[in-house]
Symmetry: C2
Subunit: 489 residues, 2 copies
């Protein structure tokens, strides 16, 4: 089943050959909508296939598929609107230094995009997911490297997308699919691949990032690698609603058996009685949560070993020991540690600042605000950072603004009084963050994800008759643009 | 004079410490305007210093300084307007899949930016140039690696910029300056450096790009490395105005002694009588052009050797032999070759498809349109690509649109009936292109250059009292934004 270098080459060439068929924005918006319709129509079949391979369960998978088709339609709307083209038109201006000629700029597709599927989202971050949807929206054909955890689902979904393409006269090669580790490496090195999107581990993502950067012609590599997703509970918030926060945390960290990239992995909670109540409530809720099946055996082994290594550290307790359940399952749990252990550099406790995939979190108990600041200053980049504030702090009294200012450098999304799991598909979304959260400043969720697959071109003194219609003064396509320094539409 | 690793560290830490002082957009716009004023006020002194180091001449340098202060003011206007913040505000929407919470996104500065000066622009692409201006506009402090061709000018200009900073209470460390090759390497590896901008050679730029990518935490590296800047002269255009085109080409390729990154380095001109007239006119104009001084001895040696190596190739003629003049000067010239020699892979003639810095160009004479297409398909990425069309072709008759479609994949700026030298500072400008023109999809000239030094952050369900004013519903700063799916202002 693993693709040879020759098969990778064929897939990339077939995708490249389909580029022209995506040039018309009307056609590709219709293609994206048909893909959404056909996925919805195949729901039962696809969910069954995905559940058989991932054990994520029909409820979660049905929701994930709905998210996926919603996302395809959202990108179709973005294609129709055309703001992503970034049209700017300047007429000549001899008063500038140097003088400005007639200049008209918009963005064109980069070319074939390689997409690396995630294990934990067989739909939303795999074959028909955000990377594919945004690349097609940009006008870029896609070759997907399937994740080994769901090869059959990947094939099924690919065939659905190809049927949608065929409905609009787009060659099926517009969506290639290859399997195998080596095929993934070949793919990122292929001369006709112009950019890559990746969701997965730091190790795998960094290796592919390095390969993309080492090419004779380097290409953009938009990887989402890993995130600890810190959460700060202020003393006032704990005093106000310790039990509610503890229960909310349990729900978020065990959701999807802890297999979300935005799982809260480090929680700074106050020492003392209010913090104790929070830990008690977390203990109760986690103890009541069933064991679950992880995506594959490697993950299960890593989870069990990762938890054991962390639990052995001095001063680390396990109010609920996470662990191996029956043959395939793992039970959720959490660890506690004095925050002071994480506040200074170089100790073995730095392991607690690395992501551990699966249903476990670390609650670090702090004595004072200075400890919170110290621990936060030591964190690597994150997809999200969260703070729980009291009512008064949320209203602007106390340390709320200060903590938000401390969290902002750490992450691409900052939440107040919520939980990071659940990443909405919306224009204002940002799912990315300082490395290793992502390898670039881009997002893989939300409308601006399309920006990753485009590059600008400016036309200078080009006669009206030869300009693309997008750049003509009379704006025949009615596109939003910056015209003579003013935004139109 | 070369900075030690410790001195680089000090400069970066001083810059980092100045970050907060740039947070207020009003302050940094005022800083940029003061910098422009002080540069203008020091014009005579700065031009004299730069001329002594670069021999570019007072006329060119005065113009370059005017361009530089214009650019600083243009970025001040961009800071004031605030569109670069990319504000998007979405209110909760439960009808979405999954539901959308309150999400508010804008862009924040990345942190300290390393800027690598160019040899050929001691002002416009050096200490006070586009990289520095756009980074400061974004709110990022800068540490510049001076170019060894103009160290004293660099120091002078840095002191002017620091005086401007001091006028607005910004620490002088906001603009660091280091000298030396090793210092440049240290700089790109420094943990507190968040991004880099570079203008220079493919070899130097690629080495720094590789170092940026190999860091434990990789950073964006926006390098402008090299470009051949192909020009196509159609048969009809040559028939219509061969002499005018030949003279124009001579002017563009010898401008600034051929030391522009957008110098036309390969010209596809028709074989036959009209092409002969073009070559004759080019011969006359280039023969009439004085020898000039190159920026340094290394460049002069590379130019002389590069020309000699190219001239020795079979079927290459030199109607005007470019060469060494007196001790410091070089005389302009050009080579001709049958385009057919460049149309297929693997020959020694591929050397003609590499940039040769200095006053030389290659005129490739083609027999038919298929040869033009073949040569274009073999070119690496470029900053610019140009076509000269006849009046009829420019009006839409004949092959104009087809050639534009062939040039667009090759370059970031496409010109019709003009010359690529002269890069206007304008919102619609794009100075970048497929590798090796640039190492990213960004531009180093024009308003959108500011985008390189920012990353998005989204705030989720954040109480009004804690939101940055930029993201509040009542828009107290009057910023352009996308609000509830609609562009405002």
């Amino acid at each position: 089943m693993e693709a040879t270098a020759e098969e990778v080459d064929q897939a990339v060439r077939a995708a490249h050959a389909a580029t022209g068929a995506l040039a018309d924005r009307t056609v590709r918006a219709a293609f994206l909508r048909s893909a959404a319709e056909l996925l919805d129509a195949s729901k039962d079949h696809l969910v069954e296939a995905a559940d058989a391979e991932t054990a994520l369960g029909p409820v979660r998978l049905t929701g994930e598929l709905a998210r996926t088709s919603y996302q395809l339609r959202a990108f179709a709307d973005i294609v129709d609107e055309g703001a992503f083209l970034g049209i700017v038109i300047d007429h000549p201006d001899d008063s500038a230094t140097p003088p400005i000629p007639d200049l008209r700029r918009y963005k064109v597709p980069l070319g074939v995009v390689a997409v690396y599927s995630a294990s934990n989202f067989p739909f939303a971050f795999s074959v028909p997911g955000g990377d594919t949807a945004s690349a097609l929206a940009a006008g870029c054909p896609v070759v997907v490297k399937a994740h080994p955890d769901h090869p059959a689902t990947s094939e099924l979904v690919a065939s659905v997308l190809r049927r949608a393409a065929a409905q609009h006269g787009i060659p099926e090669g517009v969506l290639g699919l290859v399997h195998g580790f080596e095929a993934g490496v070949e793919l990122v090195k292929h001369p006709l691949v112009s950019a890559a999107g990746f969701t997965g581990s730091v190790r795998g993502g960094r290796a592919l990032f390095d390969a993309a950067a080492a090419r004779p012609v380097p290409i953009p590599f938009h990887g989402e690698l890993g995130s600890l997703n810190p959460v700060v509970i202020t003393a006032e918030a704990a005093a106000e609603r310790a039990e509610q926060i503890g229960a909310g945390l349990a729900g978020s960290m065990t959701l999807g058996v802890g297999q979300f990239c935005v799982k809260p992995g480090l929680v700074l909670a106050p020492a003392g009685a209010d913090g104790d109540r929070l830990v008690k409530s977390l203990t109760d809720a986690v103890s009541d949560t069933d064991a679950g099946v992880l995506l594959d055996h490697r993950m299960r082994d890593n989870f069990v070993a990762g938890v054991a290594e962390r639990a052995e550290l001095p001063d680390v307790d396990a109010p609920v020991t996470p662990g191996a359940g029956s043959e395939h399952t793992v039970s959720p749990g959490f660890l506690t540690v004095p925050a002071q252990r994480l506040a200074t550099e170089g100790g073995d406790h730095d392991l607690l600042l690395e992501e551990c995939f699966g249903p476990v979190t670390v609650v670090a108990r702090y004595e004072d605000d200075a400890e919170v600041t110290s621990v936060l200053s030591r964190l690597p980049g994150n997809l999200s950072a969260t703070v729980h504030l009291s009512e008064g702090e949320a209203a602007g009294q106390g340390r709320g603004a200060e903590i938000l200012a401390e969290l902002t450098p750490l992450a691409g999304r900052v939440l107040v009084n919520g939980w990071p799991t659940g990443v909405a598909v919306a224009p204002a979304q940002h799912h990315g963050g300082p490395y290793p959260a992502t390898t670039s400043t881009s997002t893989s969720v939300g409308g601006t994800a399309v920006e990753r697959w485009l590059r600008p071109v400016a036309y200078q003194n080009t006669p009206e008759a030869l300009l693309p219609p997008e750049l003509r003064d009379d704006n025949p396509l009615g596109l939003p643009r910056r015209y003579e320094g003013r935004q139109e539409l």
